[in-house]
Symmetry: C2
Subunit: 210 residues, 2 copies
Amino acid sequence: MPFRKNISNLTVQRLSCYLRTLRTLAENGRISVSSGEIAEKVGSTAAQIRKDLSCFGSFGKKGHGYNVSELITTIENVLGLDKKWNVALIGLGRFGQSLSVYKGYRNETFDIVAIFEKDPSKTGKSFNGIPVYPIDDLAKICEKKSIVLGIIAVPPAAADEVIQKALDAGIRGMLNFTGKCGCQVPPHAFVKDVNMAAEIETLSYYLTRQ
Amino acid sequence: MPFRKNISNLTVQRLSCYLRTLRTLAENGRISVSSGEIAEKVGSTAAQIRKDLSCFGSFGKKGHGYNVSELITTIENVLGLDKKWNVALIGLGRFGQSLSVYKGYRNETFDIVAIFEKDPSKTGKSFNGIPVYPIDDLAKICEKKSIVLGIIAVPPAAADEVIQKALDAGIRGMLNFTGKCGCQVPPHAFVKDVNMAAEIETLSYYLTRQ
DNA sequence: TCCTGTGAAGTTCTTCACAGCC
DNA sequence: GGCTGTGAAGAACTTCACAGGA
């Protein structure tokens, strides 16, 4: 994979969105697509799409656009989706429970293979077919199951402590649903804050100031 | 509220994060706080905090920092959180069900007062204490209950149609959990895409390319 | 003619650095 | 001394515009 430029954070996020659109196109039997058409479907501009795609090579055909299946393969490869990621869910409260059943991501790529929970009454059994372990077993199980991704769904007050435990267990990427934002991690690790309160408060702002 | 500058999208999102930190400080009895301390807690820089706050006035005390409770009140006012928003949840599949019980946002500000669902076997009763209506009643109920915010939790293929219905019903702000991104809406309306697949795929990228 | 790929220009966002005030 | 508020500088991102290939 020729990485001709640094791919920015924003570009990475958009690639994921392009990918979804391309998969839909592929399901509908489409062979090729132009940057303008992708732009229309994802609510962006043709120039933005081309700039983003140009970060990792030139494989469009001038005058004809991009080959849909080739572009899907390329983006999957860039994003590292061409392998399977074992994921740990930490926290089996109400939101953790719902995340364990939510399949918004592709199961063949991201698979929750272990759940960790503090409350001993919940551990030692399965939830939704996934074994539930005490949180103290994090390091042991993560190593055994090759887990490097985590979904953190504990209360905000426990966020820092749990994230630290996850780091110690070798988890290097986390989706943080705790609501606590900006938790510090070392440079080799990544935490993405997913914050529904912030999202809905942003809407409140726009509806108020308009 | 003196709006001295346009507040950018990014600033608005950060305000929400500052607010959460400030509330925690207030609960701990803190009276004042410096931009540097907020920055440390949210993982940002002091200059960024000051720039963001300067958008809507100057109320820090030089040499002393900001008054915590005053800043909370101001940010709540800026974000429009000083009133109650009635919210509609559209889609009562598994993820919709979990969103209806998830209280990641403040209930005194955002209150789900109606659920809408296509499947007639689910309508006409309550779920988690919230009445479930057929989706065709959207306009009628939204007007009756003064609903202008919506949480969309239907399958991606239905996203465009449901968002259009919500717009027609007078809903002007939506959290879009469908996974379909970039749905077009008129300029007076706002859709925020919340995309767990994109978030986790971004992590995959960073762990792969490192 | 159509559409890509890409420098250049334009815009937006962040960081710097310091005057000013407590 | 400590910390805010803010122009100015710098960095990052987006859009423009056009050369060039199919």
